[in-house]
Amino acid sequence: MRKRTGTSAWFLVPVALVAPAPAGATQYLKVEDAQKLAFPQADAFTPFAYAPTPEQRAAVDQAAHARATAGDPAIWRVTAAGQPMGWFIVDNVIGKVEHITYAVALGRDAAVRSLEILDYRETHGYEVRNAAWRRQFDGKSAHTPLEFGDDIKNISGATLSCRHLTDGVRRLLAIQDLVLR
């Protein structure tokens, strides 16, 4: 690229000591908590056996414009005092570097009532843990109130697209339309 660089301001970031880092995983909500948030009035979440016929599966693929990549979703029928309130669905999507578990609540009108990410995992292949590079943080507390352990990180980076998740939601709406009755 045509970037004009200055004279001497570049400095080398030492990357000699590279250690494997665990995949970062953040749990935002447990399934039960997400259920209560989405349907506070509900008194029963009954597991629904999602067992589509090959024809239904093909119809869902076609309506969603994509094939499932991470298995079938877990589905609950939601009721209050025996009356149907809608559906609660937990699904996974796998992106370039991320693996996401998310929950969608559908009302009786099949509209999306809520969409929450339950788990977000990024595969950080390696992380630099170099003493010289880290020294610049000496005397500053890295574990201030919002930092909790090594697994939760504040990352600034170019935008990671949520297209896979949007595709996933479209697929769940197709399942609702074609299979859930």
């Binding site: 690229m1 970037k3 004009r4 970031v13 919002l146 990352i155 600034s156 935008t159 990671l160 998740l165």
Partner: protein, 265 residues
């Protein structure tokens, strides 16, 4: 006092809100903050039908189009940044014209001198983060982080460790900055969205990333694009907006870094 974290897909990316305080205060505040971001999405996404952006791009070259106060605010900021950056920041880049063809008229009317495809993607995400932070603060929250796909802002004076991706290997993270009461945004070509140079129409896909720290996420978001394009030529612009940049460059298996205008105190 507990830490509450939520994440939702908005603005074409993942938005995370972390907030410290009692659940009774934090949870409704987080809900309101997500709603503020969703509102920015509805107003400024070029893909949402009937968004201000969609209506502008469809009709503003034919007749003045009236837009929402929030969209007008972001558009005015974008036009100012276009002038201040000598055209490097351009929300009309990649279309037939430039920001100079956009006119913001009284009473929030906007007019194009020719048909344009304006995209506020390079600034609206940062603005949405600022709106979310303002919503949290107005509800008495004193410690929070809002992160929209890497554009993030810290509310409160406790410094937070910020990790940057290695531009040569984006799955590798580097602990790089401590940030309190401010914002940081990063531009790079390593994921889907690349930056287009308005001067040449060229897509920047080099092995650089530009991270800008600024008082607001809107400024950090926009200035990161300028620094990625113009490098050290953006020094005066950064000073004007009280901002700092950290440029990372992957070359020959090594990672190099450089601060602009200088290492912040």
């Amino acid at each position: 006092m507990n830490l509450h974290r939520r994440a939702r897909p908005l603005l074409g990316t993942f938005v995370e809100i972390a907030c410290r305080g009692d659940a009774g205060v934090c949870l409704p505040a987080i809900e309101a903050a997500f709603e503020a971001i969703a509102r920015v999405h509805r107003l400024m996404s070029p893909h949402e039908r009937d968004s201000d952006l969609a209506r502008m791009n469809e009709r503003a070259h034919l007749e003045p189009v009236q837009i929402d106060e929030e969209t007008a605010y972001v558009l005015a900021a974008a036009l100012e940044l276009n002038r201040e950056s000598g055209g490097a920041f351009d929300v009309a880049a990649g279309s037939a014209g430039s920001s100079g063809d956009i006119e913001l008229l009284p009473q929030r009317f906007v007019r194009y001198a020719r048909a344009l495809r304006v995209d506020l993607g390079g600034i609206a995400k940062g603005y949405a983060v600022d709106r979310a932070i303002a919503e949290l603060a107005s509800r008495g929250i004193t410690h929070a982080i809002v992160n929209a796909g890497g554009d993030l802002r810290v509310l409160g004076g406790d410094a937070q460790l910020i990790h940057l991706r290695d531009p040569g290997a984006p799955a590798t993270l580097h602990p790089a900055l401590m940030l309190a009461s401010g914002a940081v945004a990063t531009s790079a070509g390593y994921f889907a969205r690349a930056v287009v140079d308005p001067a040449t129409g060229e897509v920047i896909d080099g092995r650089d990333s530009a991270s800008v720290m600024a008082p607001t996420a809107m400024l950090a978001d926009a200035l990161a694009k300028v620094v990625l394009l113009r490098g050290s030529l953006s020094r005066a612009l950064l000073e004007r907006y009280n901002a700092h940049a950290l440029v990372l460059r992957a070359a020959g298996g090594a990672l190099h870094a450089r601060w602009l205008p200088q290492v912040p105190a």
